[in-house]
């Protein structure tokens, strides 16, 4: 804590003390002014565009009430970082609006700020400003993330062309299966999942791993991208609609973790949850075949798997997910939706 923040903590209101104790120590960017001004100031690098994104997470909706506060903080930041990664932008900082019910005390806030601090460092994304409120409702964490990239280079959803390959980072479906395990622990036995595989799947729900290390590679090689937050099927459908194309995806090529593969073997119907459940925070992209090797090499160098799962085709129907016999799957609900 800086001495100014310390003075503020003594002199100000309860809200000032809370900010000085838990958040000012995180705000080391000079433009955050130690959270002691009305707003932050950023000098954008010359020739750059600013990329802007906001996503909120709410207790009981996007995370469970007993999730560790450190993970809640990190998830709130990471779901926004994932969008920056998909668009090819480097993180420049973020604003935090936090509303907490009266039941939330200092321990929770201390844990929350510890989690935030570790991701601020891990993703080099400084806290620039924020707002804290008491709320009669659940915890709500609303983050606005600011990214930068060379002018005019943001990777859009609308650049996919027939003939492009469709590739996805990491593994798909872990979070959807992890959430089921979290809610119904007996499923682990039914699916014959070892403890470590359960832990991996649940962790993938609780703490996304956005692919910010791939931002430059995505910008250099992908024609269209979207981050997978509402499910691969629904998000790829959005990319296809924006591009005026369709896609054919081989379900068997969709990358699965060991735990997801075992769960799916025990209960094949889980394929719908895997493809539509969401919370993956991977990047799905369309890339010209000639660019795919370079993209895969960059991913491999960054330690991230990148898997070719199908192709962009002409047409305006939703992407088809084909089973091993070439039959398209039908989904009851193709995408997570709040409404």
């Amino acid at each position: 804590m800086t001495s100014v923040a310390g003075r503020e903590a003594q002199a100000g209101s309860g809200e000032d003390r809370l900010i000085a104790t838990y958040f000012a120590p995180l705000a080391r960017h000079p433009g955050a002014f130690g959270l002691l001004d009305d707003a932050a100031a950023l000098t954008p690098p010359p020739g750059c565009d600013i990329v802007l994104k906001t996503d909120a997470i709410i207790g009981g909706v996007h995370f469970l009430a007993d999730d560790p506060a450190a993970d809640v903080a990190r998830k709130a930041l990471r779901v926004n970082l994932s969008d920056l990664a998909a668009k090819g932008a480097a993180p420049a900082g973020f604003l935090l609006a936090l509303a907490v019910p009266p039941s939330i005390g200092g321990d929770w806030l201390a844990d929350f700020s510890r989690g935030l601090a570790s991701d601020i460092e891990a993703y080099d994304c400084p806290l620039l400003g924020g707002d804290t409120d008491r709320s009669p409702g659940p915890v709500m964490v609303s983050i606005a993330a600011i990214g930068v990239l060379p002018q005019g280079t943001m990777v859009r959803r609308n650049g996919a062309r027939p003939g492009d390959r469709v590739a996805v980072t990491g593994t798909i479906g872990d979070a959807a299966i992890g959430l089921r395990l979290r809610r119904e622990p007996t499923l682990a036995e039914r699916w014959r999942l070892a403890h470590r595989l359960c832990e991996h799947l649940i962790r993938r729900y609780r703490l996304p791993e956005p692919r910010n290390v791939l931002a430059a590679a995505v910008r250099g090689h992908a024609g269209a991208t979207i981050d997978v937050s509402d499910g691969l099927a629904g998000d790829l459908a959005k990319l296809c609609r924006a591009s005026g194309v369709s896609a054919r995806i081989a379900c068997a090529r969709v990358p699965l973790s060991e735990g997801a593969r075992q769960a799916l073997a025990a209960e094949p119907e889980l394929i719908e949850a895997v493809l539509t459940g969401g919370d993956d925070y991977e990047i799905v992209c369309a890339a010209a075949p000639a660019r795919l090797d370079a993209l895969r090499a960059a991913a491999s160098e960054a330690g991230v798997a990148l898997t070719d799962i199908g192709e962009i085709v002409a047409g305006d129907e939703p992407p088809q997910f084909l089973d091993p016999e070439g039959r398209p799957l039908a989904f009851a609900q193709p995408s997570y939706s709040h409404f």
Copy 2:
């Protein structure tokens, strides 16, 4: 609604339809991409800094559950615009994170988006992106506002010097009195307030009037500024702490509306609510005496009152608010605080 948004509305999820119906039509800035991408892109004007601010408002905390949705939207935007104004920045756009309980339907959302549309135009502050969620709690509107100003010219809280004059825009205390009237309508009779004065006071609570027309003047002439959101006493105390100074304010010079003056005449104890109640969204600033006339002239040209209420003095005690006999007032709670 654009044809692409129309198509999205037919093809997508309930959330896509909601965005396409109520929000995409507002997102006319080219960098908002019709809300059909993961993020927005802004090209900052050369030689400019980006000013960033987030503030959330919550039903039952910052507004009342039966406030018109259009006013809720406008208040959410305006409390952020007020910070940009105080810092001397011109609005460049905003991000909106909206969480609504299941009881909120299409009528409310339509009214909300109408209110937002009118302020987007009035303040020339485009909607750049957003996030909509169902929430088990109250309505929560979290906005992140982005402003621009010439590099290095953001007006800070920490530039006040002994000898500076303290000036404030508009009138102070209306919102605090308006909120009391809203909660306890019989007070109107006790204070002998005409209907139109009550309406004015209540409206000042429901719908702030941020002083964005003064941004350039503030930047040109003020040494230190803060927007008055938590009460004049508390916010001026923050400015003084940041600047390492104190202040002496003449209560009799604090500008009051006709309604506030009448209420105060009927109930002198209201002076504490006037000075500490908050929700004013005026600008209080410290300016060298030689700059005050220019600042006042610019304000007058913009149709905004600017009143000299006292002076910055050396010292590190909180600002003193002096009654007509020169005695300092003591406040039970000098500033609104959520914690």
